[in-house]
Structures are given as structure tokens and as C-alpha cells.
């Protein structure tokens, strides 16, 4: 597992080296900070995705939950509610959607793919209905400072990302909850027979994913200074890609957040580099798709040889 994580770090380093050689603008402090800042939202969503995938599930609804949480946040701010109230509402919407996903999976017995596919459509539709399809904007400066402000030279969104990763890493590696995430993904029946409340914890895992979507929604709304019902399109695919490139097995039972962070950075660096090189956004899609498949293919082949 360690060797594999090392592998993705090498992949990221090689990618950076190549871009550095190809374009002088890549390796500047301002560009690198820009890359990390652009990566932060996908990286945060991918935290929740990592929890869910390690537990043997999948969450296709993260992008739609980002939109719905953001719209809730924006609407309350627009209505003049104080920032803490609006932020709390965004969290409540995100966690609520996540817990509903979890209940459908663990109590309702639906396959995670189906339950979250439904939520993907429902949450997106709710955001569109609620806003009548229009962006919500016109807030005062409070929220905006999250995106414009910085701690030292580190931009606000990156600070949020770092805090999220540190806390989530501790939860995943140092708590009983984290242990059960791995155990459920590794062997759900054995975990249940060991007396672990599997349904409760599975529901909570999707709740964590919803919470991460809400955090991402707050950062996104702050950066755009408006909440859009069509925000977060395709976020689920970016988050799954970051998680899987980071070495988390879609079969469940293994994976790390450090790997996911590297995976998200690879995606971000690649996008940024292709932009700097002037590659058209159409062609970018092809390159990124190829990188995702290639990274997982290498991983799979390595794994086969290890056994």
C-alpha cells in the first residue's frame, strides 16, 4: 500500500516536471497557489467520496448536493440572514441529503449506485425549482472574505481544504468510526457479526459525504460570490477519479485520504498545465479521461503482480 501511494506521488512529480519543462509559467508561486485553490473544491468533495468508496459504496449525488446546499446558503444570505445561520442551513441540507442516501442504502437495501443516482436528480431538480433556474447573488462581503482572505500566503479555500483533510484523516485513522468504515468495506457480514451497528455507520458515512458537499458548496459560493443551481455538474466524476487515482479500491476496504489528495492534485495540475499549454478544453477532456484510465490500469497491473 505504501509503495502504491509512493507511486502516485511520483506520478504527480513527473507530471509537474514535464509541465515545468514545457512551460515556464507553471512553476511559479502564484500559479501553484492557483492550482491548489482550484483543486480545493474537488479535493473536499473527494474526502466524502473516499469515505463512501472505502466502505464499499459510491455517491453519485455529491455535485447536486453542492448545488442544493449552495442555493440554500445563497438564498438565506440574500434574504439578509446572518452568515452563521446561512452556513448552518447549508450544512443541514448537505448532511440531510447524505443521511437520506445512507438510509436508502442501509435500511432500504438499495444499491448505492441507484440510491445516489436518484438523489443526484432530485437534489438538482430541487435546486432548480427553488431558484427557478436563476443564480442567487447579491450578498454582503462576509462570505466573500472566505475566498479573498488568506492565512499568511495561503488562500482561504486552501486553508479550509487543509483543515478538512487533517480532521477527516484523524477520523478515518484514529476513531472507531473510521475503523468501521474500513471493516464494512472489507467484509460487511463479518463486521455485523462482530456486533458493529453496520446500518447506523453506513448511514453516517453517506452523511459525511453530504457534509463534505456542503463545505465545498460554501467555498464555491464564496469564490463565485453567487450560488448557482447548475453548480457542481460532473463533480461526482472528478471526485471518484481523484479517489481512485489516489489508490482507493472501488471494491472497498482500502484507501487513504493522503492518496485522494494526491489524486485531486494530479487532476488539478493536469487541467492547469493543459490550460497553460493552450490545449483546447475539448481536447483536455480526452487527455484527462486517458490519464484516469491509465493511472488505474497501472495500479491494477501492479496489484496483480504483487499477489
Amino acid at each position: 500500500m505504501r509503495a502504491r501511494r509512493f507511486g502516485t506521488v511520483i506520478g504527480l512529480a513527473v507530471l509537474c516536471a514535464v509541465l515545468w519543462a514545457l512551460t515556464p509559467h507553471f512553476l511559479t508561486v502564484s500559479n501553484l497557489l492557483n492550482v491548489v485553490q482550484q483543486t480545493s473544491i474537488n479535493a473536499i468533495v473527494a474526502v466524502g467520496m473516499t469515505f463512501v468508496i472505502i466502505s464499499g459504496g459510491i455517491d453519485l449525488s455529491v455535485g447536486s448536493i453542492v448545488a442544493l446546499s449552495g442555493v440554500a446558503l445563497g438564498a438565506l444570505l440574500q434574504a439578509g440572514q446572518p452568515l452563521p445561520v446561512a452556513v448552518f442551513a447549508a450544512f443541514a441540507v448537505g448532511v440531510g441529503c447524505g443521511l437520506l442516501n445512507g438510509a436508502l442504502v442501509s435500511v432500504g437495501g438499495l444499491p448505492p449506485f441507484i440510491a445516489t443516482l436518484g438523489m443526484m436528480s432530485v437534489a438538482r431538480g430541487a435546486a432548480l425549482v427553488f431558484t427557478e433556474g436563476r443564480p442567487v447573488s447579491g450578498f454582503d462581503e462576509g462570505l466573500r472574505s472566505l475566498a479573498t482572505g488568506s492565512v499568511g500566503f495561503i488562500p482561504g479555500p486552501v486553508v479550509v481544504m487543509i483543515v478538512v483533510y487533517v480532521v477527516a484523516h484523524l477520523v478515518l485513522t484514529r476513531t472507531t468510526f473510521g475503523r468501521y468504515v474500513y471493516a464494512i468495506g472489507g467484509n460487511e457480514e463479518a463486521t455485523r457479526l462482530s456486533g458493529v451497528a453496520v446500518r447506523f455507520h453506513k448511514t453516517a458515512i453517506y452523511g459525511v459525504s453530504g457534509l463534505m458537499s456542503a463545505v465545498a458548496a460554501i467555498v464555491l459560493t464564496a469564490r463565485l460570490n453567487s450560488a448557482q443551481p447548475i453548480a457542481g455538474m460532473m463533480y461526482e466524476l472528478d471526485a471518484i477519479a481523484a479517489t481512485v487515482i489516489g489508490g482507493t479500491s472501488l471494491m472497498g476496504g482500502e484507501g487513504t485520504l493522503a492518496g485522494t489528495l494526491v489524486g485531486a492534485l494530479i487532476m488539478g495540475v493536469l487541467r492547469n498545465g493543459l490550460n497553460l499549454l493552450g490545449v483546447s478544453s475539448f481536447l483536455q477532456q480526452i487527455v484527462i479521461g486517458g490519464v484516469i484510465v491509465g493511472a488505474v490500469l497501472v495500479d491494477t497491473v501492479l496489484k496483480r503482480h504483487r499477489v
Binding site: 475503523r179 463479518a190 456486533g195
Partner: protein, 558 residues
């Protein structure tokens, strides 16, 4: 009693002329890590005979058939098959067997996989049928082999004709276009047989084909078998129902502990002899059971039932006692274990722990009452293979180890190390359990409950796939547990182990408790007879049924 006797059974008065030997398996050996499943087993099969293959659970019947079908590869031994030239058939026709004696010498074959076995004309009908419910009978029979016109378009008319001809040939009255899911279980079984016989099949293996059939369906199946035999197909028939053995069998081979015990004409052997041959064995293994005087009652089960699995189960378990549960596969033993451990719900009767009625909604409820389950399939139910030894051991104890949900650094390893040392698990606490041997994995599953405050242990096949050394360690551990006041329910398919380690033995059959024996009153033959549903050879040795349930006497099932 020796393999030499098998040579005498070459002619059968019931079948008239001398039949050709279509299959010879000689000196077959197969070992799995820690267990020798087959050791020098012989089996010969004549054209047009039904050869019964008998043995207890784990005697090696399935392993032998899996070697024949190419699912496993043999470690040693020789398989000879009559030359294929005599058996080649046009598709969809069943007229072989007539000329099987005509020509062709047998030759040694190397069956490397299922494809080889198929090419040699070997077909196996498993207990679970491999059919597609939403396709028609014809589509199922010719799945992947349907007649086509150009570009792979299925020639429906020819398919229908071929199917009709095949079904007529076999005397089956089923319309080719019927969707499979409309058929009864017996009809589906016939479709499976037709599928197996659609091209040149000379050897047909049937593994307990009647276990799910009604008696009229069984008659239909036997009529079909008689027709196949008349055509010269050689049939290996595995069953636990001794009445069937005499109804359709010509010869019988008994396996025991992976060894060939005997091959005889059925006209020369009695039921009692067969039971003795299946059960009897050298009691060379020693079981270090140290019996203690039973203490207070830990667990009482009253008229427990679960639809389709358990019916009217009543018994009790006392401190310091090992209660063994015997029975054949599918008798409901593991189902009982799962209900007692809270893994499945019961729908009748009640369970009492320390004289309090308890309801188990989840395994956690049972664990709180001090019940620990060692599941039958440790890989599927006992362990999280990717997690370390320490984390597996700590899994049921997360709540006790954690402070406000947080696990202090290395607390699982500190928790696990004494257990690892105590059970002599040959691994470190930080190794993934995936890398451990069967015996060591089993010790880890045991350790999950030893480390807690379990007092009622349910051991489902505790020594399966475990080497001899680890077996003895597990027995010693059982002694230690009972000496310290715990009670153990032990399910085992190994009769010597059950007899050697239990204080009482319950025999289950078809979801019920068929009989109860004391350690002194139990013999392998009696236990096996009860499990098979036969009258006990010595009813005087049978103790009274448990007090609360007078209807549970021996032979209720008839």
C-alpha cells in the same frame, strides 16, 4: 473392504451382459493446505450403471467429482477413459451406449479444466441449477450452442426441432418454448439434464439431485435415470438418502476421510453395513476433553423456529458443558447457530439467557448477552481479510477501547498482543489476516470473543480446514473455557470430534432436533443413523428428549 473387491462388481445380473468400463480413477490424491482431502481413491464406472457414491460430509465425494469435472486438479493418480471414438454422437441425438463395447481402448487423460472434462463427455448436475429463468427451455438447453444462420442469427425453427427431438428422446414432456421460470423444480432439473446430454455425454454425475424434490418428482427423475442407463450412460449418483441407493443403484462406493473404503454390488450389502462403513474409522485421533460437572443454566431455547430453516428447537446449555450438534449438510445446524448469535431472526419460540427472555434483533444484542459466534465460513463471516490481526481482534471491542470515539495510539495492538500470545497465533498483531494460514485465522476469530466477556460460545465447524496441531490447540482451549464456567455449542461434521469433545450430542435433521445422546450413549453409528433419519440401531441408548418438548423423540420424521 479392499479395493480388490471392486473388481468383482464388473458384471451385474440386473444389467445382463458384461458392460464396458468407461471410467477408471485410480489412486487419486488431492491435498489442500493443512488437509488431505483425498488419498489414494479409486472409482470405476461401467457403461449403463448407476454408481452410488456415499460418505459423510467431508469424506471427499465432492472433491473427487470436482477433480473429474476439472474444477480441481489432482495431485496424484490416474484417470482413464474409454476412447472417445465409440462415443461420438451427432448433436441433439442420444443413441450412444449401444456400441460402447464394440471398440476403443481406454486411455489416460489429463483433465486440466472444465473444458477438458466436457470434451471427454463428462457432465455434472450440481445441486444449484445453472439455468437462466427468463429464457425458454430451448434457449436454455442450447445456450451458447444454438443453431444459427448467417451472421449468427438464431435459426429458431431448427432450435425448436432439435429441442423437441432431444426432449422426446429423453421421454420428457416439456414444450421447448416454455419460459423456464414457469417450470417446476423437477422439470428444471430435467432441463438441466437434457442440457448436459445434448451432445455426446457418456458420464453423468448427479449431486443430491432429489434434495428439493417431492416424492412424485423423484419418481419422474428415477424413470429418466432408468432410460439413460438403458442407453448406456454411466451415472455417478451422490446422495444421503439410503432408500434411493437401493432403488436405483447398481454398485456403491463408500469414501471415508478421503480414503476409498469399499466398492460393492448393492445386492451384496445391507443398509446397516453401509452405515457402519461410512461412520466407522480408526479412533486414532485423540480428544483431550476434560469433562467438568455442569453448573447453572446459561442458555435455554424453547420451541425455536425460523420459516424454512428451523422448527421446534428446544434444548439448554449449562456452564462447563459442551453440547455437540450433529447433522448432515442442510440439516439446519448453521441456521440455528446464526439465530442464536442474532445474525438471523427467529419467528417462533423464545431464547432465555440466565433465565431471562431475550430478543436478538442484531448480533450486537447477542454479544451483549455474552454470546460469541465462530462462524462456519471464517473468510466470509469471521474476518475482514484486509485488516490487521489487531484490528480484527479489536473489532467487537471498539467501544471499550475508545475514548469519546477516539482510539488512543496503538491501543488495538496493545489489546491484541496478549491474545496473540495466549492463542499462539503465528503472526504479529500488525499483519493483515489475509496472509495467515487457516489455523491461525481461526485462532483470530476465536480471539475476538476470548478477549471479551463472552460466556456462551457457538463454534460452527471450529476445526474445518485447520491443521492437526491447531486442532488440538482449539480442543484445549475448549477445555479451558468450560473449566472457567463457559458453555459451548459445537457444530461439527466430524463425528469423532463431536463424540470426543461433547458432553451431550443433539442430532439435527431437516430443521428439527431428531435425537439427543449423552456422551456415554453416543456412537458414530447411532448419531449417523439419526442424522440420516433411520431408526437407531440401539434405541435403549437414546435419552429422553428435552423436557419442554416431548414431541421430539427419535424417528418423528419417519
Amino acid at each position: 473392504m479392499t479395493t480388490a473387491e471392486s473388481q468383482e462388481g464388473r458384471t451385474d445380473p440386473g444389467r445382463g451382459a458384461q458392460a464396458a468400463t468407461v471410467l477408471e480413477m485410480h489412486g487419486i490424491r488431492k491435498a489442500f493446505p493443512g488437509v488431505v482431502a483425498l488419498d489414494g481413491v479409486d472409482l470405476t464406472l461401467d457403461a449403463g450403471e448407476v454408481h452410488m457414491l456415499l460418505g459423510e460430509n467431508g469424506a471427499g465425494k465432492s472433491t473427487l467429482m470436482k477433480i473429474l469435472s476439472g474444477a480441481y486438479r489432482k495431485d496424484a493418480g490416474e484417470i482413464r477413459i474409454l476412447g472417445p471414438s465409440t462415443l461420438r454422437e451427432p448433436q441433439g441425438r442420444l443413441e450412444h451406449g449401444r456400441e460402447t463395447t464394440a471398440l476403443g481402448a481406454s486411455r489416460t487423460v489429463d483433465i486440466q479444466g472444465p473444458r477438458d472434462a466436457l470434451a471427454l463427455g463428462i457432465r455434472i448436475i450440481y445441486q444449484e441449477l445453472n439455468l437462466v429463468p427468463h429464457l425458454s427451455v430451448a434457449e436454455n438447453i442450447f445456450l451458447g450452442a444454438a443453431p444459427t444462420r448467417w451472421l449468427g442469427v438464431i435459426d429458431w425453427r431448427r432450435l425448436s426441432e432439435m429441442t423437441s427431438r432431444l426432449l422426446n428422446d429423453l421421454g420428457m414432456d416439456i414444450a421447448p418454448a416454455t419460459p423456464l421460470h414457469r417450470l417446476s423444480l423437477a422439470q428444471r432439473q430435467m432441463v438441466e439434464i437434457a442440457k448436459a446430454l445434448k451432445d455426446r455425454a457418456s458420464i453423468l454425475v448427479m449431486d443430491e439431485p432429489t434434495s428439493a424434490l417431492t416424492s412424485r418428482e423423484v419418481d419422474q427423475l428415477f424413470a429418466l435415470i432408468a432410460r439413460l442407463v438403458a442407453r448406456g450412460v454411466a451415472i455417478v449418483y451422490i446422495t444421503h438418502r439410503l432408500d434411493e441407493v437401493y432403488r436405483i443403484g447398481h454398485r456403491v462406493t463408500v469414501l471415508r476421510d478421503g480414503r476409498h473404503i469399499t466398492t460393492k454390488l448393492l445386492s451384496e450389502v445391507t443398509v446397516a453395513e453401509l452405515v457402519r462403513l461410512m461412520a466407522n474409522r480408526d479412533l486414532g485421533d485423540h480428544f483431550p476433553r476434560q469433562r467438568t460437572t455442569p453448573g447453572k443454566e446459561l442458555l435455554r431455547v424453547e420451541q425455536l423456529g425460523r420459516r424454512g430453516a428451523l422448527c421446534d428447537i428446544s434444548f439448554c446449555l449449562r456452564a462447563g458443558e459442551v453440547v455437540g450438534i450433529a447433522g448432515l449438510l442442510g440439516a439446519g445446524r448453521s441456521e440455528l447457530a446464526r439465530v442464536l448469535a442474532g445474525a438471523d431472526r427467529s419467528d417462533a419460540g423464545r431464547i432465555l439467557c440466565d433465565n431471562n427472555v431475550v430478543t436478538f434483533r442484531t448480533p450486537a444484542d447477542a454479544i451483549r448477552r455474552g454470546i460469541g459466534l465462530l462462524p462456519e465460513d471464517r473468510k466470509a463471516e469471521g474476518l475482514v481479510a484486509g485488516l490487521t490481526v489487531a484490528r480484527n481482534l479489536a473489532l467487537p471491542h471498539g467501544r471499550q477501547l475508545a475514548r469519546f470515539g477516539f482510539l488512543p495510539g496503538r491501543c488495538e495492538e496493545r489489546f491484541a498482543e496478549p491474545v496473540v500470545k495466549d492463542l499462539r497465533v503465528k503472526a504479529t498483531a500488525t499483519q493483515p489476516v489475509r496472509l495467515l494460514s487457516g489455523g491461525n485465522q481461526q485462532k483470530v476469530v476465536l480471539g475476538k470473543w476470548l478477549a471479551g466477556d463472552a460466556r456462551i460460545f457457538i463454534f460452527d465447524e471450529p476445526t474445518r480446514g485447520v491443521d492437526v496441531g491447531a486442532k488440538v490447540e482449539i480442543y484445549n482451549l475448549m477445555n479451558r473455557l468450560t473449566a472457567s464456567g463457559a458453555g459451548i455449542i459445537m457444530i461439527s461434521s466430524e463425528l469423532p470430534e463431536l463424540l470426543g469433545m461433547s458432553d451431550r450430542i443433539l442430532v439435527m435433521r431437516r430443521g428439527r432436533i431428531q435425537a439427543e445422546f449423552s456422551a456415554a450413549g453416543a456412537t458414530q453409528e447411532r448419531v449417523l443413523s439419526a442424522a440420516l433419519g433411520l431408526a437407531s440401531p440401539a434405541p435403549s441408548g437414546v435419552e429422553g428428549p428435552v423436557p419442554s418438548d416431548p414431541g421430539n423423540a427419535v424417528g418423528v420424521e419417519g
